[in-house]
Amino acid sequence: MASRRDFLKRALAGSAAVAGAATCTDASARGNAQISPDAVGLLFDSTLCIGCKACVAACKDANGLPLDYATPIEAAWDVPVDTTAKTFNVIKAYVDGSGMHKDQVQDGYAFMKSSCLHCVDPSCVSACPVSAMTKDPVTGIVGYDPDACIGCRYCVAACPFGIPKYDYDSPTGKIGKCELCRHRLPEGKYAACAEVCPTGATLFGKVSELKAEAKRRLALTPGAETTWPRGNLTTGDQPSWNGPAPVYVQHIYGEKEVGGTQMLKLAAVPFDKLGHRPLPERSFSSQSETLQHTLYGGLVLPLAVLGAMTWVAKRNVKHDDEGGDHD
């Protein structure tokens, strides 16, 4: 009995010391990452979307992606129902009852864009062990480098929006996700989905300006005539149009979710009905990294434990050698 109690006592003392050391290193705690002042993104307004899917086709074209279909019969058409490794952007529909009225919860329908939200503090970047997922320090675009990727799919599992996807049908499968047409930015172009959107439902621009535009819309009196910009909000490259304001849900999705995203969304139907679960404001990556850096910051804690273990083991192994003719 005495020996077991002794063992447990030591075990508990050991874990208490470790826990104590862990809570003392508050310096490694970090909050949510801050957005870059030059960050670019998208504003998607569900009330303006007419479900034409021009953005889906333009995305495929701009990114050189093949057709996506579930059965061979569909093979002549590009009919993705969700984002995949070959489809970075889809428009999903909410339908209830007769589905007669746009932007109505009962007997209504609404559209929602599904593509990467370019989190300010992305889980996929925090999860990636090989820096294949990166966040551009200036534009804030979350990019992917297949040449660095090991295909572990930790990003696929970690993303709270289910965005990065892997190609399981290929022996050399890659992760696929929207990179906000970052390859087109040096050419003076911007995200293809926003460029082709006929109504301005998908709008490209600086996140700070998109946020101001979103707030302006939420403050509109329903029915009041207003101006709807199209294309690139920052450069104003496309003519705007005039129309009445809808009845918005008073929430900018992406303003605060998991520390904010660079894609902002407005809708007239509650977001949880549009496939957007409520999420906390603290980013998951900041929690994970705070935990890791508390335990492993400067390798202080592991080295301290190793030192203690080496000291104890050296004492005991010696005794052991004396005790018998083997180690």
Binding site: S126, I150, A158, Q292
Partner: protein, 387 residues
């Protein structure tokens, strides 16, 4: 400090080909054939993985559970060398052997699951490796631990091949490798739990917690002792040897002590987070939670009497149930409690399961071959029968 004169380890001897090793060989060949298909045609042809469940049993069973099963070496080494319980010394080598193959295969098994496996070295290469990633920590620690374990086990080979000089040199530095061999598993077994923290609200509140690293670590140490009970009973039955009850009975008490600590931390965390209420909902998750908890509580019931702890059958069942509890904790946390959105489901395909069986078959076959041919288990004729 009492001195412990133990029987020196010796090869068990005997024939290598038996119905058991034959079946193991067939399982291994089947797994290799399936893996060939996987590498030529991709993960989708042999697995049921999908973007809602990008991690299946090749990650959860082969790596997360496989490495926890392989904690016997770590748990017993800590007992003998850190807590100075020299009397358990005869258990070190067999436990270390099982750990060695458990971990080596977990390391190799990762490659089967990696979609872009030819880049695997990036995970430890400066310029690619990302210290912010929990998976980086797991990979670095497991890789290093595999090397450390081979060094810890090397005297067995040196003895067999009569390399006395090498054995003496390794033994001189052994205390450091033993220390490293306790710290590294603490780091990665806890990190295997930390992997889930970044998943956030996608993990059910019964399993998502900031103390996951502690829960995974303590459960792994406890499972380490359970594996030793399980293995010792099995080895004794398989080789018709005397069961080392004089060691296993007190070891089972230590296991129950650690299990008590585990349950206190597990339920303390659920209560502090206010998550225990989810256990009383009518959900699959709640049912699986109670199944997991039952497996962890059962050893207390089975082994509560001193007489029960002297009963090999009870020790075996208690050890097996505790291992099952650890398996369920990991499956629940990684798969049952994981929800990335509506419309996704996952259950492993038959080929997927066959690969996992093949992996465990390699471990068992290696254990049989090495204990029969190398000095691992204590010499049988010297085992005293008075207990």
């Amino acid at each position: 400090m009492t001195k412990h004169a133990h029987a020196a380890p010796a090869p068990v001897g005997g024939r290598l080909l038996s119905p058991v090793t034959f079946v193991l060989g067939v399982l291994i060949l089947a797994a290799l054939a399936i893996l060939a298909v996987r590498f030529v045609y991709g993960l989708g042809t042999v697995t049921n993985l999908n973007d809602g469940y990008p991690w299946g049993i090749w990650v959860v069973a082969d790596v997360v559970i496989g490495s926890a099963f392989a904690c016997g070496g770590f748990s017993v080494a800590m007992l003998v060398y850190i807590f100075n319980k020299g009397e358990y010394h005869p258990l070190v080598r067999p436990a270390l052997l099982a750990s060695l193959f458990g971990y080596t295969l977990a390391g190799v098994g990762v490659l089967f699951d990696l979609g872009r496996w030819w880049n695997f070295w990036h995970i430890l290469a400066p310029g690619y490796a990302s210290p912010n990633s929990v998976m980086f920590e797991v990979a670095a620690c497991i890789s290093l631990y595999i090397v450390v374990m081979w060094i810890e086990f090397s005297p067995t080979f040196f003895e067999k091949w009569g390399m006395k000089d090498a054995r003496r040199k390794v033994n001189k530095a052994m205390f450091f490798f033993i220390a490293l061999g306790t710290v590294l598993p603490m780091m990665h077994q806890s990190s295997l739990g930390s992997l889930l923290v970044v998943f956030g609200t996608q993990i059910h509140p019964l399993w998502q917690s900031i103390v996951l690293p502690l829960i995974f670590l303590i459960s792994a140490i406890t499972m380490g002792y359970a594996v030793v009970l399980f293995e010792s009973c099995l080895a004794a039955a398989g080789y018709r040897r005397t069961i080392e009850m004089h060691l296993l009975t007190p070891l089972s008490k230590i296991m129950l002590g650690m299990l008590g600590v585990f349950l206190a931390v597990r339920f303390g965390d659920l209560i502090v987070r206010g998550a225990l209420g989810y256990a009383f909902e009518g959900s699959v998750q709640a049912a699986m939670f109670w199944l997991e908890t039952a497996c962890f509580v059962a050893p207390f019931v089975l082994l509560r009497a001193q007489a029960a702890r002297r009963n090999p059958a009870r020790l075996f069942v208690a050890g097996a149930l505790l291992m099952l509890g650890g398996v369920l904790l990991r499956i629940n946390a990684f798969l049952v409690g994981y929800d990335t959105g509506e419309g996704w489901s996952y259950f492993p395909s038959v080929p997927e399961m066959l690969v996992t069986f093949g992996m465990f078959a390699i471990e068992i076959l290696a254990y049989i071959v090495i204990t029969r041919r190398f000095p691992v288990l204590p010499r049988e004729d010297a085992v005293h029968g008075a207990h």
